[in-house]
Symmetry: C2
Subunit: 338 residues, 2 copies
């Protein structure tokens, strides 16, 4: 038996020099063959690739980046520690990035501007090709920085600078989908129970609800009930609503958590759901929507699609085709039993 | 006015060559000064640093890594698309990594072995210094690979290879904390309602519940109720429990979602909580625990601490001090009103 002198046997990583030696070509030729660059005979290219495969050579992406000036990395800065909103956005972004052989550094800013600037510095030191900023609220936020050397795309929470590239949910469209569904299922006396008035998403959904009802020749039952994004508020508001407007037959809720509270509140007040009152939420958060009694009909805002679009727009910007402005992703209705 | 020839004015990134020119030193000297290496006069080092600061030079971490053989990056592969378990683990890991000036690539394997191997290949191509694998179930999992060139630490879901480095939750300790609390608050007829028998965490918590009760001279009321991690199961099991054992005065639930179902089931059957029956969950998932009526007393498994420990152990392994084996992180009880 001869001694095994292969890099694997020696316990070290296979390098491009090993591949060149095995294929009987120069280092430069091996590099060109593996990077798909330069003028090489197809036979040579094939021989190098075969050698690389035999040796289990993994190309060093970091070395490749020194040649191309790109690192094929992007940063994702999320403000959303709970992951409820940013995880689907990230999942979608990852899908699009992987198609471009890119990979993401994850940074959690925890809604803290100091942490955010720290992460920004670190990402620029790493020479990322671009940055996605994913927020959890639809309110406008301060831009990440001025004159940054790489493109930035904002997902869900738009930048206050209209020249930035923002991918946002269709807040008004969500209200239209909900109202249209309630009207289509025969509801005519529709109320709106939602989160805090200080949240852009609560205000926009409320405005659009009134507008969508007007489109059907209907008026909102009472004023919009602004409160908090909690079940307790949903239960409490449902009781208030029943006392003031016992003839209500539909409720559009600003999100699923509130809708779950509303269904509990109505049911415990003796209202039969969905016979007497139809309820629609927003978010399609399976955990909440499926656990509600009855399971919630709700508007899915397409968070994954927002992430995918943000990554596509970032890749385009990195390739020299920035598309600043507001990119609105449409949601869709998920019909369950409420 | 003289023309501004600075790199900023030319719209390009400041390079180390610019710093060297400004400080009047060679490239090598500038590099040593900024990396804190080599023998240099303190005056020279200070001059280079001042030049770097004036020019707004951000060191290229990627170039630094070519010198040190380290990239100061790690990969985090998560199987947990919803983020419920992996986000706190990642948050903890990020805390520890940042202390070592490291940054994490995030990969979501979606519980798919093919995606996982794809991510592993990509991470090795990026020359990460190490990998954390974060799972959502406490069941043993297949090791990520054999003879990997970098250290791996498993967080929450341990590897089936006992020589791997695993950071896990204290499943038995969680049951002890819950039982001790129920007994201390005067409960003597305690039942256990939990998730599927096929999940290691359900089995271990059930076994430890029986053992902890025995330590108090008590026996479990009925057999453990194995079912699913859903509220609907919790409600259903609560009704079954009441029929078979109307004198029950405490229920330890395998997680907060089940506990929420149990509290609803008991309350709707006319049981006064917590006067007649005390309920304890596991997870301290704020969304669920705080929305339950009454808000849930629950065991926090310390997921962030698991992430922190995993990152610390990974950094130690990268530095040449691997600590294989099972590292158990203790949980703690969070007392609310149930």
């Amino acid at each position: 038996m001869t001694e095994d002198l292969s890099p694997q046997a020696a316990g070290r990583r296979v390098g491009i020099a090993d591949v060149a030696a095995r294929a009987g070509v120069s280092l430069g030729t091996a590099s060109k063959a593996l990077n798909g660059r330069g003028n090489l005979r197809e036979e040579t290219r094939a021989r190098v690739r075969a050698a690389a495969e035999e040796l289990g050579f993994a190309p060093n992406t970091n070395a490749r980046s020194l040649l191309s000036g790109r690192t094929f990395t992007v940063g994702i800065i999320t403000t959303d520690s709970y992951g409820r909103f940013s995880i689907p956005v990230m999942r979608g972004a990852e899908d699009s990035l992987a198609a471009g052989e890119m990979i993401a550094f994850l940074c959690d800013s925890r809604d803290d501007p100091i942490r955010e600037q720290h992460h920004l510095r670190k990402l620029l030191e790493r020479r990322v090709d671009g940055i996605i900023v994913a927020g959890r609220r639809t309110d406008e936020r301060r831009p990440l920085g001025r004159d940054l050397p790489v493109p930035v795309v904002y997902a869900l929470a738009p930048s206050s600078d209209p020249d930035d590239c923002n991918v946002v949910s269709d807040e008004r469209g969500a209200a239209r989908l909900a109202v249209d569904h309630l009207v289509k299922t025969g509801r005519r006396r529709i109320a709106h129970i939602t989160g805090p008035h200080s949240h852009a998403s609560a205000r926009e959904r409320a405005d659009a609800t009134i507008e969508a009802l007007a489109g059907h020749g209907l008026r909102l039952v009472g004023e919009p009930y602004f409160g908090s994004w909690t079940e307790a508020w949903g239960r409490f508001a449902a009781a208030q609503l029943l006392r003031a407007h016992p003839d209500v037959d539909g409720v559009f809720c600003g999100n699923d958590v509130v809708a779950r509270g509303v269904t509990d509140g109505l049911r415990e007040a003796g209202v039969s759901l969905p016979m007497q009152v139809g309820v629609v939420g927003v978010d399609n958060w399976a955990l909440v929507a499926e656990a509600a009694r009855p399971p919630l009909t709700t508007v899915d805002l397409g968070l994954e699609e927002i992430g995918r679009r943000a990554a596509e727009l970032l890749i385009a910007a990195i390739d020299g085709h920035p598309q600043p402005g507001r990119h609105v992703v449409a949601g869709h209705l998920v019909v369950r039993e409420s």
